[in-house]
């Protein structure tokens, strides 16, 4: 019999025991030896290259290897939770590098900051999946045959099988067996009659099997695992995601240049971007109060948007934290929000050198926010401003400000001002959120003689030395959207459903064989025997045999009364 499962599967070989072709085991199912259990290949003589390859393949697809690889996978996943990962926590990695300058290069060499795409992690799961495929294919073939096969012949001796019981009846043996067959069929078993005339005594029996769904479920489950990996590994290459900060009143257009940052998948093609625009009309945030600490806690964020797909009418839409906006095959997630004060900078000539909404990055729960203004067009010298925005400013004992609440109860903008070379003309990309003040002269705040400037909405402050003026023109809010195109989602979902369904069937559908046998004893009465055999975990087998026997006997009883 072709092994349906790896040779070190607990059941390997054992399942032959109730098969008719296996004379010895059917005469005594409990007595088997190692030779009959698919271990013969170990004593193969010389192995050629092909032999070695087959040997290696068999090792790789054995249960033990699968088990070890699974355990290895679990262990290998641990380090990724101990040190920050570039994908999920890039800032953490930078911080780690600063904190552990010695250790960092070593760990980085071991790909500890990219564990889940590292060579070692990938090899483990790829081996596991090769093993898995090597496992599924022969089992599928075997199961396909089993699905079309008839239940095997009734073993000669049932006594030592599970749930064995016997009884004596006055019913005619043939009728009794026909009755048992009907009963089993009714219970969803596949049924086959086996009658024999051995040693002069007539034996009538039915052999029944059920629970093919168990193996089907197991195969579906394992195949769906391959499906998940396939979707994640291959289909994800067609996806992309990008981030965009949008200030109230502004729009985003879905072209490459429209994104602040963009991560294309391996097979991404720019022409696959559907042109559409998203305009942020307004943003609402609601806050509640933590009863114990009195701190403000966010209740709800909602971005009111207008979207327009080319060639269609504009639509009003909302995005909330757990409710992304769906547009043209993309999802737009509301990830962050904050304040974007409109800052106007006048240079020494009195001209407007800069006037824009500047998104400030929130630093705490009360939205104390940090921002940078770069004014390359200011004359005679470029200007750079670094400052804080406090939606609800309160002065602390130290004289510093803090924000008391995330809502704009008393908005305050403070700036340190620098003049000189912003260093953006050399074409080196610089973060818009950082100002390199190395080559610049402090003008106000910090080391400068003049104090830092403080502005409330609508206010304008002159800079020292006639360098110009800064105005807090207006207060706006911004949201940051994470825009995804993920073609794997649907596939992963489908495969996940198959995983759960397959698993449930594989774990809970009992697969078993039942036999009912009738022989005519010397006193001409009929001896009925019942027994079962579990294939896989089957805690209810005994009960099943017992119930069958009881129902069958009751059936025969009522028949004889008729």
């Amino acid at each position: 019999m072709q092994p349906s499962r790896p040779s070190d599967y607990v059941d390997a070989g054992a399942r032959g025991l109730a098969d008719p072709d296996d004379e010895r085991s059917s005469s005594d199912p409990r007595r088997t030896d190692a030779e009959s259990s698919g271990r013969g290949d170990i004593t193969q003589p010389k192995l050629g290259l092909v032999g070695w390859l087959r040997f290696a393949w068999r090792q790789l697809t054995s249960m033990r290897t699968a088990l070890l690889l699974l355990l290895l996978l679990a262990v290998a996943a641990v380090p990724g939770s101990l040190v920050p990962q570039r994908t999920s926590d890039p800032n953490g990695v930078v911080q780690y590098k600063a904190d552990h300058p010695e250790l960092f290069p070593v760990l980085d060499g071991l790909q500890m900051f990219d564990v889940y795409s590292s060579v070692w992690f990938s090899s483990i799961y790829l081996l596991l999946f090769i093993s898995l495929i090597g496992c599924i294919i022969p089992r599928t073939r075997h199961h396909w045959q089993a699905l079309r096969a008839r239940p095997p012949r009734t073993p000669a001796r049932l006594q030592r099988l599970a749930g064995y019981r016997n009884s004596v009846s006055d019913a005619d043996p043939q009728t009794a067996i026909a009755e048992a067959g009907a009963l089993l069929r009714q219970l969803g078993y596949r049924v086959e009659r086996y009658d024999s005339e051995a040693r002069g005594a007539a034996t009538y029996s039915v052999s029944a099997e059920r629970g093919y769904l168990r193996e089907t479920g197991n195969l579906v489950f394992h195949a769906a695992m391959v499906g998940v990996l396939f979707a994640v590994g291959i289909i994800s290459g067609f996806g992309y995601n990008g981030q965009k900060v949008i200030v109230e009143g502004q729009s985003f257009t879905n072209v490459l240049a429209g994104y602040d940052s963009f991560n294309p998948g391996r097979f991404f093609d720019e022409s696959s971007l559907t042109p559409y625009t998203i305009t942020l009309d307004s943003f609402d945030a609601q806050y509640g109060i933590d009863q114990t600490t009195g701190a403000a806690v966010p209740l709800d964020y909602e971005a009111h948007l207008t979207t327009k797909v080319r060639g269609e009418e504009p639509i009003e839409a909302n995005a909330k934290v757990n409710e992304p906006l769906h547009i043209a095959g993309n999802n737009a997630y509301l990830l962050g929000n904050g304040y974007a004060p409109v800052v106007t900078v006048y240079d020494s000539s009195g001209e407007v050198a800069f006037s824009q909404a500047v998104p400030f990055l929130p630093q705490d729960g009360n939205l104390t926010s940090l921002g940078v203004v770069k004014v390359p067009d200011a004359v005679p010298e470029q200007l750079g401003l670094v400052g804080f925005f406090y939606p609800w400013a309160v002065e602390q004992h130290s004289g510093a400000y803090a924000s008391a609440h995330p809502q704009p109860g008393d908005p305050l903008l403070t700036f340190n001002v620098f003049s000189g070379d912003l260093g953006i003309n050399e074409g080196i990309p610089r973060s818009v959120y950082a100002l390199d003040t190395d080559g610049m002269t402090p003008v106000a705040g910090g080391e400068a003689d003049a104090a830092a400037i403080e502005l409330r909405p609508g206010e304008r402050v002159e800079l020292p030395d006639g360098l110009g003026a800064v105005e807090f023109t207006e207060l706006k809010r911004f949201v940051s959207l994470d825009i995804h195109h993920d073609p794997t989602q649907l596939w992963v979902l489908i495969f996940s459903v198959l995983v759960v369904g397959g698993l449930a069937a594989a774990l809970f559908v009992p697969r078993r064989r039942l036999w009912v046998k009738a022989t005519v004893a010397a006193d001409a009465r009929t001896t009925l025997e019942y027994a079962g055999l579990a294939r896989g975990e089957d805690p209810t087998l005994d009960q099943a045999v017992e119930d069958l026997a009881a129902r069958h006997e009751a059936e025969l009883e009522s028949r004889s009364k008729r």
Binding site: D8, Y9, V10, D11, G13, A14, L17, P29, R30, R31, D33, A34, S36, S37, M63, R64, A66, L67, L71, A74, A77, V78, S81, Q85, T87, S88, D89, R160, L161, A162, N241, G288, D290, V297, P298, L299, D300, K320, V321, N322, E323, P324, L335, D482, H484, D486, Q489, V492, S496, V499, V500, L503, L507, A534, R535, E537, D538, L541, D542, Q543
Partner: protein
């Protein structure tokens, strides 16, 4: 003080009451275990008789399987062992009302404690105006409730009251630590947690934990029982005696497996529900966030456990160890990862 805060206070009082009742239950269960090792031969329940006859047979068959010579492990199981197992099950079913007085008292107190606990949890939910599992305190409250609930519920199918010390001990411990250490008054739900998936994901995770906790306890008893079964009869009379009236190691293993696979299904579902939710909230269904990593690790460990049960030479003690490691990872995930690891799942509310 508004109504909700008042309800919350009542809830807290109920939590303390439940803890008191559970503590009494714990003591009763412990007395029961002590009684089991007491001198006079126990004729408590059907399990005794079966154990006496069944243990040696079980040992020989599991040893055979372990060496790998008996390729018929399944058959041996399904015939001798399983029949015996089911026999024991029936004996227990018939003798449901049996059990030492302290065991009965312990179980009644457990049910009483559960009802108080349930009331506490429901009140907390009403006070918060949402499901009561949005921060570490609430999550502990609900998780222990579900663990005890699962413990009570499985008794319908299988008498596992002897695990009372473990289950109630664990629950009281978690409840105690979290009321003292993690208590926060009702705070509104942050936007990221406002999702029906919170309800599903966390509830199913707790359910899984309830089943896996029982499997874990059974695996520990199994290992002890195995050691006892290896002892000579004279030594059995003096060592690990409280195990005398408990099922055989092999039977314990089968019971543990049945609970663990139920837990595993729920855990699988938890993982998927978590991914769906992560997709909604953060725009990706999987990002190897620390919490996700540990949920994955637990899942893979239990997949390993299930494989071990089907791999020659890995049944018995080795697979029991895997179940124990798996549950330890759950506890780790719930305690250390929640409290000390950095990640997006910062919902401990501390």
């Amino acid at each position: 003080m508004n109504v909700n805060a008042e309800l919350d206070t009542i809830s807290l009082v109920l939590v303390y009451s439940a803890m008191a009742v559970y503590t009494l239950a714990f003591i009763s269960y412990a007395l029961d275990l002590a009684r089991r090792s007491a001198d006079k031969p126990a004729k408590i329940d059907g399990l005794v008789a079966t154990d006496a006859g069944g243990a040696p047979a079980a040992r020989s068959s599991s040893v055979g399987a372990a060496i790998g010579t008996a390729s018929t492990a399944t058959v041996a199981r399904t015939t001798a062992a399983e029949r015996r197992g089911e026999g024991a099950g029936r004996a227990v079913r018939e003798g449901r009302e049996k059990g030492s007085p302290s065991l009965k008292v312990g179980f009644s107190l457990t049910v009483l404690g559960f009802l108080i606990h349930l009331a506490a949890d429901v009140l907390r939910g009403i006070a918060a105006g949402r499901v009561p599992w949005a921060n570490m305190y609430e999550f502990s409250l609900t998780m222990t409730l579900i663990i005890v609930g699962v413990f009570i519920a499985v008794q319908v199918k299988q008498d596992l009251r002897f695990l009372g010390t473990f289950v109630i001990g664990l629950s009281v411990l978690i409840l105690g630590v979290s009321t003292v250490g993690f208590y926060v008054s009702v705070i509104p739900l942050p936007p990221a947690l406002q999702s029906p998936w919170l309800v599903i994901h966390v509830f199913v995770a707790s359910l899984a934990t309830g089943f896996l906790a029982l499997g874990f306890a059974l695996s520990i008893v199994q290992l002890l029982q195995y050691r006892r079964e290896l002892l000579s009869l004279e030594l059995q009379a003096v060592k690990l005696r409280f195990l005398r009236s408990l099922p055989s190691a092999e039977r314990l293993e089968n019971l543990a497996y049945r609970l663990n696979i139920v837990g595993f299904i729920f855990w699988t579902f938890t993982l998927i529900a978590g991914a769906v939710w992560a997709e909604r909230a953060w725009g990706r269904y999987w990002g190897w966030d620390t919490k996700e990593v540990w949920t994955f690790i637990v899942w893979v460990l239990y997949a390993g456990y299930i494989h071990a049960r089907a791999t020659r030479g890995w049944r018995g003690n080795r697979s029991a160890w895997l179940a124990i490691i798996g549950f330890s990872a759950i506890l780790f995930n719930y305690t250390v990862v929640n409290l000390f690891f950095k990640g997006l799942h910062a919902y401990s509310g501390l």
